[in-house]
């Protein structure tokens, strides 16, 4: 036990330094805050689905400033916020001086029972302070701002209002006032990541400062559990009683937070510890298939915490990223104290939540080909459009040159113990003319891929049908016969990007 180290760990909450003191390692940030008497943040689900625990955390922007980032406090261990700044609904305003977000919500009937409200306030405030947010009042196009608000609030559930007044409140918000302290705070840099060691009788939490230190910890501690955004581990702790004895946080390692080009620009290396929100921003539209995934991947609250490496590392068969990365032919750069190695993602998964990654290895980066397929689509089948888990996910990447399919890769989620490639379908379609007939032939094969099961999300029959239909739907939306389209938005959140003549493949 090292009481000195424990007493050093602290979080700045609403401007006040709050020592972690004797807080157990597996105490969530939510319980820590509530223990301080800040009971605005609530536990609604304890698994990052409802957002009632949302708080604002200062995170670095690529430009060097601070971004107020909304995170689920129920998923993070309090120790993970050592040295960080947190703002809760209580810190944003009070009765006589409501924050603009709070005022709009209150006046417009945005709260009924009020239990989800502090979480909505924080998610809404994060978007309110986003630098490149365009407020409705300053643009003629309301649909894009509306879309942005929908995504910003997609991780918050309300059971009372039906959301209309909440969305109205959001859309009524103008830019922050000139003297807004949290707006001004954005111009200073975010708190740096600090080395943390918290020891308690329920375990040890360690945050190394750099990659070498992290790898050394892995070498030393065979029982070490690696934590990045804690969107998976947090659920294990809260719902399944998991209490790992030794937790190593790697989400702030600078070596794992870079986006760079490699091999003469043929590849884009995406640092494994970048959050999905950060990856989306950093890629800036360079990977159209992933741009289809982001809005359908969980919620903004989760994407703000979950990392790209963590999503691949956890090897869930129903993760949404893996099918897309398989279709893109991504590779993983694994690192250990012994060196680095590169593994194609298609060879990475070995069984249910099993991979080739050795215990002492970390995913350093996800390596994406810079050249993009001509036609891509991501079809997520779920009950709910936002913040749901796929019953089936299909990622399609197809190149068509002069009417012939020259290359095809299809990644599937939810139909086997691991994310898989639809290899038989790929063989069926490759080299064929891009016609309704060959698409139909391939769709029949695709519907037979994997070993889908019946569960609470969908029947096996529906899953299989959706596999085949994903290709038919892609064909209809990009093919040469009459185009299927509705005048406005597509029925699903899928929005295929088509490039029929293959220019995208050049």
């Amino acid at each position: 036990m090292t009481p000195e180290l424990m007493s050093e760990a602290s979080i700045t909450v609403n401007g006040d330094l709050r020592p972690l003191g004797g807080t157990p390692v597996h105490t969530t940030a939510l319980d820590f805050l509530r223990g301080l008497g800040l009971t605005g943040a609530k536990e609604g689900c304890a698994e990052g689905e409802c957002g009632a625990c949302s708080v604002l955390v200062s995170r670095p922007e690529p430009s060097g400033g601070t971004r107020w980032t909304a995170l689920n406090a129920c998923l993070l261990p309090a120790a993970a916020l050592d040295g960080q700044e947190v703002v809760t609904a209580e810190g944003l305003g009070e009765g006589s001086a409501l924050h603009p977000v709070q005022r709009e919500l209150a006046e417009r009937g945005g709260s009924q029972c009020g239990y989800c409200t502090p979480g909505f306030v924080c998610s809404m405030a994060a978007e309110y302070y986003r630098r490149d947010r365009v407020s409705t009042s300053s643009t003629s196009s309301t649909s894009s701002t509306s879309e942005a608000w929908h995504h910003a609030l997609s991780g918050n559930l309300c059971r009372c209002t039906g959301y209309r007044p909440i969305v109205d409140a959001a859309e009524a918000l103008g830019p922050p006032a000139g003297d807004d302290p949290l707006a001004a705070r954005r111009d200073q840099s975010a708190p740096p990541s600090v080395a943390t060691t918290v020891v308690h009788d329920d375990g040890v939490f360690v945050r190394p400062v750099d990659l070498a230190a992290a790898l050394a910890v892995l070498d030393e501690h065979e029982d070490a559990v690696v934590m990045a955004g804690s969107t998976d581990l947090g659920v294990e702790v809260n719902l399944r009683g998991s209490r790992p004895a030794y937790v190593v946080a790697i989400d702030r390692l600078p070596e794992l937070r870079e986006v760079s080009a490699s091999r003469a620009g043929a590849w884009i290396d995406v640092g494994a510890a970048l959050t999905l929100s950060e990856v989306e921003e950093a890629l800036a539209g360079r990977v159209p298939l992933l741009d289809e995934v982001w809005p359908q991947f969980a919620s903004r609250l989760i994407r703000n915490g979950a990392t790209i490496g963590g999503n691949v590392g956890t090897a869930s068969p129903i993760g949404d990223l893996a099918p897309a990365l398989l279709a893109l032919d991504a590779r993983l750069l694994l690192v250990s104290s012994g060196g680095e190695r590169e593994v194609p993602l298609s060879e990475y998964f070995t069984g249910y939540r099993q991979t080739v990654r050795a215990r002492d290895e970390l995913i350093r980066s996800v390596r994406l080909p810079a050249e993009q397929p001509g036609i891509t689509a991501f079809h997520k089948i779920a009950k709910r459009r936002f913040d749901d888990i796929s019953s089936v996910a299909v990622a399609l990447a197809i190149d068509v040159i002069e009417g012939v399919v020259t290359r095809v890769r299809i990644g599937l989620g939810g139909v086997a113990a691991t994310p898989i490639r639809a290899l038989r379908t790929e063989l069926t379609l490759a080299g064929q003319p891009w016609t309704a007939e060959s698409v139909e032939a391939a769709a029949l094969v695709l519907a037979e891929e994997g070993t889908p099961i019946d569960d609470m999300r969908a029947s096996a029959a529906y899953r299989s049908a959706m596999l085949g239909n994903s290709l038919r739907k892609l064909w209809v939306s990009t093919g040469l016969d009459h185009r299927w389209s509705s005048s406005e938005r597509s029925v699903e959140t899928t929005a295929e990007t088509g490039d029929v003549d293959g220019r995208g493949a050049q």
Partner: protein, 758 residues
């Protein structure tokens, strides 16, 4: 206009007001039961041992190992109960069971210094079970003839004659899933022992009086030794009407045994696996029409899935039977009701309380029959509306049926329904892979508790010497804005600005013997009681005033010195109700609330996924007490109803595997309620004009439940859109909930029947 309904000039009721706690909500300063834990010292935390069987006998409990876990203070078992080992009013819910009746049933509870200690203690306890056969689904219960409670029949006319003389007779089976309340705040209680052994329980409960009674009978005490307070709830929706009692009793039992405050808060997974939900229903029906598509007869049996105990299943069934007609005149009716007994959670009240399930049966029948009758479904519905002078099947005159027509026609006009349906036809003609539809459905919902005795309300109004006013009433606040309305009622009745009136939390030692805040009746009952109390005080003040023009504060001060009582207890009972529960006849409702909805959807033929493109609603709230609150109830109720009908998918393991009876959708990641993405893209709500209700406080109407059933329009639109993938005239069967998968299979059936027909 009655004196109850008459609204004075300049009334505070009717003005648009934000929720009375809005500023507390948005700043995180509103306190809920579990927020009090950190403000209380030496609190113990309770954690259950949940059984892993749907049905089993408990043969042994070995709790000693729990005491080896540091921080474990006490294990509570049946032997600790000084009073009655029961958590319900029907005495069929053992608090500590020796027979496990559903998967997740709490067998014993552990108290620990920390929640972590209690959790570890619970894990250390060994329980031996002898598994018993279990019934999971309603169909299984029907096959096994496993029923509970009464099996009433609502009957009128000569059904057999009617079917013989009907031009068209159709029959079918309709099954609908239940619904998890998913209040964002799970069940929570904090119990402590006061001076003199008085037990004080803070509880998230819609029914503090009944919580008090159950706590008292478990502790073997009288009601006056137990006080229950509810600050506010983070949502209730019926789920905290009867379900909180047992958990409050556990906390109170722990507090009396240990002398320390005990907190019991169910984490989501416990809440969802242990507490009751909306009843799923199974219905077999036969319906007869005349040549013009007018309903002639309805015959059938509806079976609710009651779960393991009776709970509120009987009144829920009664309300289902009383709403089987929805807004339609059906001359000959014979519908039997019964309650299946199964080994799942004890299903309970949920917004609508059986009404939605009863109405779904007739709406499903009309939706399926319309194509077979060759009629537009909206026209079929409109043609069968009640007209003045007609009675419901249980014999209550249908007052103001013209308001149903007015709401319907207003939706049709302001929703531009006819023109949009023409556009939809054109869209469908050119779109092979996606189809749109616009459906309209009505709502007629009876207001009052079916059980006449519950239709009473109480209030306590204090005027202090400085002229400020404090009100208490028997209703609880769960987000529905009841307290906001009560403040407005008091300010209106006293003729004071709102700032002079405050409201104190609901407590059983302020207003006793209250009814549950339920049946949409909170504002009707408690509002009239608050008004009564205010008027008693005003009458006394008038004698002091003696005709002078004198300011309120001065009048109050004078009254005090004149030794005039400045507080009053108000009371109200709804007049004119009578109900014979055995015969299922009478006039159980004070009035009906009406509404109409038009919903437009677009369905993707590849996946069954859909968008809710536009929703138009005209709803009858009487003369609104608080328009912003009422708008929130209409919108929120509609979206919650849409969730029940299209998205929320409770799945129990009905296999013969080792987890039989386990709820598969037991977390927020598997049980999906509507998120922002399910909101209608274009959502227009209006209140019905000229809707004054004579029988209720300040001319208002109850609004909590009826809007939920406006969502039938969404389900019917999905049915019609699925039908548009096939030839006309095909009856479309659609599962409930109509998830994308269910819609997809409906489309596939339509396509197949199209092929067969060609």
């Amino acid at each position: 206009m009655t004196s109850l309904s008459q609204r004075p000039g300049g009334a505070v009721v009717g003005t648009e007001m934000e929720h009375e706690s809005a500023a507390l909500h948005v700043t995180g300063r509103a306190l809920y039961t579990d927020d009090l834990v950190g403000r209380t010292t030496h609190v113990l935390h309770a954690f259950p041992v949940q059984a892993p069987y749907a049905h089993a006998r408990v043969t042994a409990v070995r709790a000693d190992a729990a005491y080896d876990v540091p921080g474990v203070v006490r294990v509570l078992t049946a032997g600790d109960v000084p009073g009655l080992n029961d958590a319900g009013v029907k005495h069929d819910e053992p608090l500590f069971p020796d027979e496990v009746m559903y998967h997740g049933h709490a067998v014993v509870w552990v108290l620990g210094d920390t929640l972590e200690a209690a959790r570890r203690g619970a894990k250390a306890i060994e329980v031996d079970y002898e598994p018993l056969p279990a019934l999971v689904t309603i169909r299984e219960a029907i096959a096994a003839e496993s029923f509970q409670g009464g099996s009433p029949t609502v009957e009128r006319g000569d059904v057999e004659w009617a079917f013989e003389n009907a031009a068209h007779v159709f029959s079918g089976v309709t099954e609908m899933a239940g619904q998890e309340h998913f209040y964002l705040e799970t069940h929570a209680s904090l119990a402590l022992v006061d001076e003199g052994g008085q037990v004080f329980v803070q509880c998230s409960t819609q029914h503090p009086t009944e919580t008090q009674e159950i706590v008292a009978h478990v502790l073997g005490r009288q009601s006056h030794e137990v006080t229950v307070q509810c600050l506010r709830m983070g949502g209730g929706f019926g789920g905290k009407e009867m379900q909180p009692h047992g958990y409050a009793a556990i906390a109170a039992l722990g507090a009396t045994i240990t002398g320390r405050p005990v907190r019991l808060r169910l984490p989501r997974q416990q809440d969802i696996t242990m507490t009751g939900k909306r009843h799923g229903f199974h219905a077999e029906w036969r319906v007869g029409f005349d040549e013009d598509g007018r309903l002639l007869a309805l015959d059938g049996t509806i079976t609710s899935g009651g779960g393991w105990s009776l709970d509120l299943s009987e009144p829920v069934l009664a309300r289902a039977l009383c709403h089987i007609d929805n807004a339609y005149w059906i001359p000959h009716v014979r519908v039997h009701g019964r309650i299946a007994k199964t080994h799942i959670t004890s299903q309970t009240a949920f917004r609508g309380f059986g009404g939605p399930q009863g109405m779904l049966v007739i709406e499903d029948a009309l939706g399926r029959c319309a194509p077979l009758l060759g009629l537009d479904p909206a026209e079929l519905r409109r043609r069968n509306f009640y007209v003045d002078g007609q009675d419901t099947p249980y014999g209550q005159p249908v007052r103001h049926p013209e308001r149903m027509v007015a709401a319907w026609e207003q939706v049709r006009a302001t929703g531009d329904v006819d023109a949009r349906r023409a556009e939809i036809d054109a869209f469908n003609a050119r779109s092979a892979h996606s189809k749109r539809a616009l459906a309209m459905t009505p709502v007629k919902f009876g207001i009052s508790f079916n059980f006449t005795a519950f239709n009473q309300g109480g209030a306590l109004v204090h005027v202090y010497k400085d002229g400020s006013v404090l009100i208490n009433h028997g209703g609880t606040e769960m987000g529905q804005g009841l307290h906001t309305k009560m403040l407005q009622v008091a300010a209106t009745a006293l003729g004071l600005p709102l700032a002079r009136v405050r409201l104190a939390p609901t407590r059983t030692d302020k207003v006793p013997n209250t009814s549950a805040t339920a049946a949409s009746a909170g504002a009707d009952l408690n509002g009239a009681a608050v008004k009564d109390a205010c008027e008693q005080i005003l009458a006394r003040l008038e004698t002091v005033r003696a005709g002078r023009d004198i300011a309120w504060d001065d009048l109050v001060r004078e009254a005090y010195y004149a030794r005039v009582q400045l507080w009053a207890a108000g009371f109200y009972r709804t007049e004119g109700l009578h109900w014979d529960a055995a015969a299922m006849r009478g006039s159980p409702f004070k009035y009906f609330a009406y509404g109409a909805c038009a919903a437009e959807v677009e369905v993707d033929g590849f996946t069954g996924a859909y968008r809710l493109r536009r929703v138009d609603i005209v709803h009858d709230v009487g003369d609104s007490l608080s328009p912003l609150v009422d708008l929130g109830q209409v919108e929120g109720g509609f979206v919650q109803g849409t969730g029940w009908l299209t998205l929320e998918d409770l799945r129990w393991d009905a296999s013969d595997g080792p987890h039989r009876g386990r709820l598969a959708t037991q977390s927020a990641s598997t049980y999906k309620l509507p998120s922002l993405s399910e909101m209608p893209e274009d959502f227009r709500v209006a209140f019905l004009d000229k809707a004054h209700e004579d029988g209720a406080v300040y001319g208002s109407k109850a609004v909590g439940e009826p809007p939920l059933m406006l969502a039938f329009a969404v389900r019917e639109a999905l049915r019609e859109a699925a039908g548009a993938f096939g030839p006309p005239g095909v009856s479309v069967e659609l599962d409930s909930p109509a998830t994308p998968e269910a819609v997809y299979w409906a489309i596939e059936r339509v396509r197949r029947s199209g092929h067969e027909g060609s």
